[in-house]
């Protein structure tokens, strides 16, 4: 028989309010985190999948793929730099695509590539593509011919790849020539001459980035992580969402702190008696923390179940993505907040005088 747990079992109604509030807060934490992860993963998959030591942009591009242009001459210089072992072109075009049998356009990112990113096979035949499996939600099936862009350029889906989206548009991985054809047919304003790509994916040994930039005099090289963070909105999304998530955690802390210090205040008499008959401050305090942790665990389990249901119920174009990592982070954060919040009661528990139990005549 553990006093704290017995009280939870016998008087659950005393803990209902705290449990309900924490349930909603954990649901909120999971939804916010899931949106952040969905936005981040959906925006950056195509870059995170690159097996690149550096990604080379033209220096006028200010680290933007869409503004960057690398000519065959520049590529030749890069290939000649010491330590560079492999070089491949890469480029993206964001378009809408007609899916057979679907009335809505699917948002696609046509990605032309040479060096296979992780999880993506070698480039398919001309006019064919490996499609990101998120395009299934838009009704795409293997064997479908998608009509891409205003020019309705046909692309046949040969198979699925995962986590390769670019700026929340479904990746369609094609050869560089196919990509250039799509770009030139649909974006005549941004015409690409033969051999021109947006960026170079470079593999090699040593500190090749500065060496490449020095050799070309007109490029700017980023590591893959830098390239991910340079994507439009990624850093801003992350800092905004994290600010909201940490504020929510501060609310969790305040709720737990307030609730359990009120509860402790209410138990002053009982704790005085228990101290008088030999309960240590430590034992009583551990009981308070234990109750807070159990309440947080229950709230997390219910909140997690609700978040999972919400994930299923929400339309596919909401970029909510609940990862195991997000559940683990939220769980750990809730437990830490519960422990810290209830720890506020330590002083109050410590100050309760065992002599108060005996008191003078009423």
């Amino acid at each position: 028989m553990n006093l704290a747990l017995t009280e939870l079992r016998r008087r659950p109604s005393r803990f209902t309010v705290a449990t309900v509030v924490l349930t909603f807060l954990s649901l909120l934490l999971l939804l916010l985190g899931g949106l952040l992860d969905g936005l981040y993963l959906g925006s950056t998959g195509a870059i995170r999948a690159q097996e690149a030591d550096v990604i080379v942009y033209s220096d006028s591009a200010r680290d933007s793929f869409l503004r960057s242009r690398i000519t065959p001459d520049m590529r030749e210089v890069v290939e000649g730099v010491d330590g560079v072992t492999e070089v491949g072109g890469l480029g993206f075009t964001l378009l809408g695509a007609t899916v057979p049998g679907e009335s809505d356009l699917a948002d696609v990112a046509v990605a032309g590539y040479e060096l296979a990113p992780s999880g993506v096979p070698a480039p398919p035949p001309a006019g064919h593509a490996w499609a990101d499996d998120r395009l299934r939600d838009a009704g795409v099936a293997i064997g479908d011919t998608l009509l891409v862009g205003p020019a309705a350029t046909p692309i046949v889906v040969d198979g699925w790849v995962e986590d390769t989206n670019y700026l929340l548009q479904g990746g369609l991985w094609v050869t560089l020539d196919t990509w250039r054809a799509v770009q030139n047919a649909n974006r005549p304003d941004a015409f690409l001459a033969d051999g021109v790509v947006q960026v170079l994916v470079v593999r090699g040994e040593g500190d090749i980035g500065p060496a490449i930039d020095a050799a070309t005099g007109s490029t700017s090289s980023l590591t893959r992580d830098e390239a991910v963070n340079a994507l439009p909105g990624v850093k801003e999304q992350r800092s905004t969402f994290n600010a909201i998530i940490y504020s929510t955690l501060a609310v969790v802390l305040a709720v737990v702190g307030l609730f359990f210090s009120l509860l402790t205040l209410e138990r002053t008499g009982l704790y005085g008696v228990l101290k008088a008959i030999g309960a240590s401050t430590r034992r009583l305090f551990v009981g308070v923390v234990l109750q807070a942790v159990v309440v947080a665990v229950i709230a997390f389990v219910i909140g997690g179940a609700l978040a999972t249901l919400a994930d299923r119920a929400l339309p596919a174009d909401v970029p909510l993505q609940l990862t195991t990592g997000r559940y683990v982070f939220t769980f750990v954060a809730l437990i830490v907040a519960a422990v810290l919040g209830s720890a506020v009661s330590l002083r109050r528990v410590t100050r309760i005088d065992p002599a108060s139990a005996i008191g003078s005549a009423a």
Partner: protein, 257 residues
């Protein structure tokens, strides 16, 4: 300065008292609440020895310092001056941590107002004592057996599964007595144990206390302001304005009731 003290009224008088070592020895206890102009001397140079198995009534009007003295004897309150020895253990210099351990294992308390744990049954209220001692496994099983025995002895077997709110005042106080006896302490301290009960129930509870103390040979100090309760004790010690006085000879000392 421990050998003799003029106000030490320790001569055992009850037949059941076969004291070897005293259960309690208070020596020159002084307790001052507050400081400066607000200082209140609640107990002044009180010395008292309670023999093993002896039942002592501490009688005095309200505000005379009874609760203060009892709290000091039980390690709930530190004296300003003086020595407290319980069952041979000098607790005068104990740290709060040592006092907690002392209270858990060496003394029993029965308070004036009922203060059982409200969400635990009568039986569980006794088991709290073993939980505080961290009992596990076999010790826990043993504790359950002991709780059942004690409740039977206190005539509460049929109430073992009831919450305090479902018990009468007298029953609650009997559960509190069971809790105080659970660890078989050599000394049990009662602070006006019957003042919240009506006279008849109060007398029954006093009879029960007397019988339980006698049968176990447990020493006790029973604080009361009611002279009618003193005949359950072996000896009565008076306290007025924090100063202990001798009992009125045999007048307050009851034999078997």
């Amino acid at each position: 300065m421990s050998s003799s003290n003029p106000s030490d009224s320790s001569a055992p008088s009850g037949a059941a008292v076969l004291a070897t070592a005293p259960a309690l020895r208070l020596d020159g206890i002084r307790k001052v609440y507050g400081t400066g102009e607000n200082a209140i001397v609640a107990v002044d140079h009180a010395s008292l020895t309670v023999g093993g198995g002896e039942i002592v009534a501490l009688l005095g009007p309200s505000g005379s310092g009874k609760t203060t003295l009892l709290s000091i004897a039980g390690g709930l309150l530190a004296a300003t001056e003086g020595t407290v020895v319980v069952g041979g253990e000098d607790i005068s210099g104990h740290s709060p941590r040592e006092l907690t351990e002392f209270r858990r294992s060496k003394v029993g308390f029965v308070f004036q107002s009922v203060n059982l744990v409200p969400f635990l049954t009568a039986e569980e209220n006794l088991l709290v004592v073993s939980e505080l001692a961290g009992a596990r496994g076999a010790a826990r099983k043993q504790a359950r057996t002991r709780a059942k025995e004690l409740l039977a002895e206190l005539g509460l077997s049929h109430r073992a599964g009831n919450l305090p709110a479902q018990l009468s005042g007298g029953e609650r106080q009997r559960v509190a007595i069971g809790r105080a006896l659970f660890n078989s302490p050599a000394l049990v301290l009662f602070d006006e144990p019957t003042s919240a009960l009506d006279t008849k129930i109060g007398e029954q509870v006093m009879e029960l206390i007397q019988a339980e103390m006698r049968s176990r040979g447990t020493a006790s100090v029973i604080v009361t302001h009611d002279t009618r309760m003193t005949h359950y004790a072996d000896r009565t010690v008076r306290i007025v304005d924090g100063v202990l006085g001798l009992a009125d000879a045999a007048g307050d000392v009851s034999g078997d009731h």
